[in-house]
């Protein structure tokens, strides 16, 4: 066993792995934001609330209908995604031609309303959600104890991130979608229903947030403010990666998770600040973000 800066290497490997796991949450959430911004030009501040709704949906499905965790992993994103579609049809669709600020204000206001409603109904302390039995326990990797659930989170996150990137960047559907954001009139002329595609994209982005919420429910406190604690960090991740860049959001999510994990060892007090320091530096050097294109 050797030491790096006075920290045993085994401990350091453990922290790196944990950082990667946290990064998978950041990646999932920032991916949804990046998809929505890239395709709709909307800065979706409701994302944190929708992540929270995902966790609550998992709880309510279990509580009311006895739906287990794995079914909730599929159902909750669909249910919450459907509420996203309603929001898009009723409100967001009127804002695409306006300044970004309008979308930001609307979604921010919605986030406050949704959080307030959940707090009114369920209180602020939180609700219990147990680990699914199949995923309890863990393995000793020699340098750390890895709970099975964390391994599961990282696997799900990697699969979903890759699939999303693949669909948008490498399939015909994704090509249509990207074309529609560049020039909707022309794409419509080819007989493609652009508004419907945009609506479904928003629903999909919201579904991703809800999926992250279900993944978080067994390990994080399920409370109305769980989203607002996380959303600011996720926005920093998206800004660092470059607004609207899918691959940028994924890579920065994992990367920042690792950096934050290391900070928790060397200077724990600064672990909530380090991401914003990096954001400031990146914005100074590359205003469009690490992977962003200049507008």
């Amino acid at each position: 066993m050797f030491e790096i800066f006075g920290i045993p290497s085994t401990a350091l490997f453990g922290q790196l792995l944990l950082g990667l796991i946290n990064g998978s949450f950041y990646a999932l959430l920032s991916l949804g934001l990046a998809v929505i911004f890239g395709m709709l030009n909307i800065i979706n501040f409701t994302h944190g609330a929708q992540y929270m709704m995902g966790a609550f949906a998992a709880f309510l499905l279990l509580d009311w209908l006895n739906v287990n965790y794995f079914a909730a992993l599929v159902l909750a994103p669909i249910v919450v995604g459907a509420t996203g579609i309603v929001i898009e049809r009723l409100m967001l669709q009127w804002l695409y031609r306006l300044d970004h600020l309008y979308g930001l204000l609307l979604t921010f206001g919605l986030a406050l309303v949704i959080e307030g409603l959940f707090r009114h109904r369920y209180g602020s302390a939180g609700l219990p959600y147990a680990l699914p039995e199949q995923l309890t326990g863990g393995n000793n990797l020699g340098f750390m104890f890895l709970p099975n659930y964390r391994a599961w989170v990282i696997a799900v996150s990697l699969v979903v991130c890759f699939a999303t990137w693949f669909i948008i960047e490498r399939t015909r559907l994704g090509a249509n979608l990207r074309a529609a954001t560049e020039n909707p009139t022309l794409v419509r002329a080819f007989g493609i229903n652009v508004p419907r595609m945009i609506t479904l994209t928003y629903g999909f982005g919201v579904g991703l947030a809800a999926l992250a919420g279900v993944l978080a429910a067994p390990i994080y406190n399920v409370s109305p403010q769980m989203g607002s604690d996380l959303i600011i960090i996720v926005f920093a991740v998206v800004v660092i990666g470059g607004m609207g860049s899918i691959m940028g959001a994924i890579l920065t999510g994992f990367g920042l998770g690792i950096i934050e994990g290391l900070t928790k060892v060397f200077w724990p007090e600064a672990s909530s600040t380090v991401i914003f320091v990096i954001m400031a530096i990146v914005l100074l050097i590359r205003p469009a973000g690490l992977f962003g294109r200049r507008a």
Partner: protein
């Protein structure tokens, strides 16, 4: 001339009316709490409900007292809290402010009450400095404080063999105070503090900190944090096999609402100290039933009970003086009268403003032992009133030494 006469007549009429009403005492109480964020379940609307009960009960016995109540949200920001306190005391003619969870806000409001010579009764905040170096003649601290939590839980655990400690500490005034007070209690009883890690407030992922606590090999991991931070620590501790690995959590500030949020399967076996438990006796259960008429499906915390008891005692002092205007006089009267209310029983208010009553060491039940909703705790020990709180001479309160 006629105008002046009329004016005089009006003035004397007002004076006459004034004396006619002098029999009636008017009091205005402000419940200042966290209504919308992480502490809104331990204080918040539940504190307002408790205040309403206290006022209703008191007015029934004393029809000559008229009590008004208002409430507001301090959003856990000291500047917002002092802003509201200033307006309430100056413009809205509030005589007394109660509750104020979040030590940062409470310390700020305590200063305002002192400057304006009004009354401030703390139920929601924990910092023992409120009756220590920062004490003043206008502030009374009910329910609990960091010294009492540290001493109750810390001492009990060291005595049952948990003699090496590692702290997970929330990185702000309250966490530091709790860590300092608990560390002192552990060392004083023959234990040892092996280390600590300070985490930012409202952290969602504790795995890194838990791993550090795990590798410290300490027998006890002391959670010098509150609310969501405590819940996340324990929830993820279970996931990382902390308790299975032979280490034990000591929740230094855990409320009934936190236990409900964790669920008994995760929270079972946790040792904690509180000064009031809804299911402790028939009186508490009856009170809880009344409280639940407004807060359906919830269980009151000791903070809510403290709000009820604090208002009851305050109104007694006001009635004894027949006036609420002079804050220092009212607080002096509160210190003179022994406290006696259905929820906390008999007690005293010390010269430094600390209210003295017993504290209880609880252990969270196993899921199989819990017979109905809200059946959370086993009573493990009762800490008598004279041992539960910091001795008067150790607090460095200027009111005592000066």
């Amino acid at each position: 001339m006629m105008k002046r006469l009329l004016g005089l007549a009006a003035l004397s009429a007002a004076l006459v009316c004034g004396t006619a009403h002098a029999q009636q005492v008017n009091v205005k109480i402000g419940v200042l709490s966290d209504m919308s964020s992480l502490y809104s379940d331990i204080g918040g609307p539940g504190s307002v409900a408790a205040a309403k009960l206290a006022i209703a009960d008191f007015v029934k016995a004393h029809p000559d007292v008229k009590v008004d109540m208002i409430s507001a949200d301090h959003q856990n920001k000291p500047d917002v809290g002092t802003g509201i306190a200033n307006q309430w005391y100056d413009v809205d003619k509030v005589d007394m402010i109660i509750d104020v969870p979040n030590s940062g806000v409470a310390l700020a409001v305590s200063q305002v009450a002192n400057q304006k010579n009004k009354v401030f009764i703390v139920s929601g905040a924990a910092a023992s400095d409120l009756t220590g170096p920062k004490c003043n003649a206008n502030t009374v601290h009910w329910t609990y404080d960091t010294w009492m939590l540290a001493n109750g839980t810390g001492k009990a655990i060291v005595k049952t063999g948990g003699d090496t400690w590692f702290f997970l500490t929330a990185d702000y005034a309250f966490g530091h105070a709790l860590e300092r007070d608990t560390g002192a209690a552990v060392t004083a009883n023959g234990g040892k503090v092996l280390g600590q890690v300070r985490h930012p407030l409202n952290t969602s992922d504790f795995s890194s900190f838990l791993l550090q606590a795990q590798s410290s090999k300490a027998k006890v991991i002391g959670l010098a944090n509150a609310g969501g931070d405590t819940i996340n620590s324990i929830k993820q501790g279970a996931e990382f096999g902390i308790v299975k690995g032979g280490q034990k959590f000591a929740g230094l500030l855990v409320f009934a609402s936190d236990v409900a949020a964790l669920g008994l399967p995760t929270a079972q076996g946790l040792t904690l100290t509180e000064t009031w438990y809804w299911d402790a006796n028939d009186t508490n259960r009856a009170w809880t039933k009344r409280w639940q008429e407004e807060r359906k499906g919830k269980f009151p915390t000791m903070i809510h009970a403290g709000v009820y008891a604090g208002i009851t005692h305050y109104l007694k002092a006001v009635v004894a003086l027949k006036a609420a205007a002079d804050g220092k006089a009212v607080v002096a009267e509160m210190k003179k009268l022994p406290t006696d209310d259905p929820l906390f029983g008999k007690g005293t208010v010390r010269p430094d403003g600390r209210v003295i009553h017993p504290a209880y060491l609880f252990e969270v039940k196993k899921p199989a032992e819990s017979k109905y909703q809200g059946d959370f705790y086993h009573l493990r020990a009762t800490i008598p009133a004279d041992e539960a709180f910091r001795p008067l001479k150790d607090g460095n309160c200027p009111l005592v030494s000066g």
